[in-house]
């Protein structure tokens, strides 16, 4: 005990220090560790949730992007298909129209030719008649004599042909 007291150890002080430490322990546990540890846990949970949410959002975004790409490419394909079909139809129409118009023009030309032919024939006939009359008149004048009309006609026609 001599040694202890020469080192400054005093039972009253020792007890006081022990009590003091327990008071500190209680106060810190009650007011500092408890709330702070709870808060730390809460925060880490919140952060975990946030990170998980962010990951989920990124995944969703990726999915949406994928979908978007697919929709876009589908639309592109569709539009190309439609354009190709339209081009085909247009080509067909063009050909048809050209054919039709060719036919039409041929028909018109044929008709015109036919008409011209008819006109020509008709004119020829008229001219023949006219010429016949003129020839008759001329011949009459020349020979000063009226021949039998039928005979006359025969002779003239023979001469013309």
């Amino acid at each position: 005990m001599e040694v202890l007291s020469s080192l400054g150890i005093n039972s009253k002080l020792l007890l006081a220090q022990i009590v003091n430490f327990f008071i500190l322990l209680y106060v810190l546990k009650r007011f500092a560790y408890g709330p702070i540890l709870k808060m730390l846990e809460e925060r880490s949970q919140k952060i975990e949730k946030g990170v998980a949410d962010a990951e989920g959002a990124t995944e969703k975004l990726k999915e949406i992007e994928k979908k978007e790409k697919k929709v876009l490419s589908d639309a592109r394909k569709e539009s190309q298909k439609i354009i190709a079909a339209a081009e085909e139809i247009a080509e067909k129409n063009k050909k048809e129209i050209i054919q039709q118009s060719e036919e039409q023009s041929e028909k018109i030309i044929a008709e015109a030719k036919k008409k011209i032919e008819e006109e020509k024939n008709r004119m020829m006939a008229e001219i023949k008649n006219e010429i016949a009359v003129l020839v008759v008149a001329a011949t009459e004048k020349v020979i000063q004599e009226k021949m039998n009309i039928e005979r006359d006609r025969e002779i003239i026609e023979k001469a013309i042909q």
């Binding site: 400054g8 002080l13 730390l40």
Partner: protein, 249 residues
């Protein structure tokens, strides 16, 4: 200049001697209590200022504890004691840096001589304080050991029958373990006391020899020593607690 191993009594309340280190202990305790009360009302999910510092320290201790116990639940069980030891001891150690240490005080008559008794004495340089914490630390280890392992299993660490497998070696090791429990109290208290007392003496002496500039590196050294000693005390407590609740094999 007189350097006393024991804390000096400033005055008496009844027959309770109020020593300078007890006064410091009192102020540190009041400081810790007020800080924790202030902190309590201001704990927020998004930390700010003081809460940041406290959280940083506590989280570092918690992670350090995890590395020793390998078990979060166990760490949480030991945490209050270990953290309180750390906080109390580091503040006690750092008190020695406060200016006026060993120089501001009252003159008292000692052994017929008039000597200066300083008001501030680091309470880690008082064996009463270090012994108190050492007793609590080792006592808690025994308590935890009994409460978690059960009395019989825990007692088996120290009292091994000489008629079982390792025979007398086991018994001998058990006795050594028992002695080491008491040695822990001594080593705990004297390690901290020795370090801080030496630091205090060193600082006082340096200040007496060269008052300007030269003591500054020693101040930094003492800050470092104070931190290391607090950490050592806390970590050893943690390790001993862990050892106490681990079954003997």
């Amino acid at each position: 200049m007189e350097i006393s191993l024991a804390p000096e009594t400033i005055f008496n309340i009844g027959n309770f001697p109020v020593t300078n280190s007890f006064i410091v202990t009192f102020f540190i305790s009041v400081f810790i209590i007020i800080s924790s009360l202030l902190l309590r009302g201001r704990i927020k999910l998004i930390p700010k200022g003081f809460q940041n510092i406290v959280e940083y320290v506590l989280e570092a201790l918690l992670n350090l504890g995890d590395s020793v116990t390998q078990d979060r639940e166990q760490t949480k069980k030991f945490f209050p004691l270990v953290a309180t030891i750390f906080i109390f001891v580091i503040l006690s150690n750092w008190i020695e840096i406060v200016p006026g240490l060993g120089t501001v005080g009252v003159n008292q008559l000692h052994h017929g001589e008039n000597v200066l008794v300083p008001f501030i004495r680091s309470n880690s340089a008082d064996l009463n304080v270090t012994l108190a914490i050492a007793l609590i630390s080792v006592g808690t280890a025994q308590f935890m050991g009994v409460s978690i392992l059960g009395f019989r299993k825990y007692a088996h660490k120290f009292f091994v029958s000489p008629f079982r497998k390792p025979y007398f070696i086991g018994t001998f090791v058990g006795v050594l373990e028992l002695i080491s429990e008491f040695a822990k109290i001594v080593s705990f208290s004297f390690r901290l006391f020795g370090n801080i007392f030496a630091g205090e003496v060193l600082l006082t002496v340096m200040l007496m020899l060269v008052p300007y500039i030269v003591p500054i590196p020693f101040l930094f050294l003492e800050i470092f020593v104070g931190f290391v000693q607090a950490l050592v005390f806390a970590m050893l407590t943690l390790v001993f607690l862990k050892m106490a609740v681990t079954e003997a094999h």
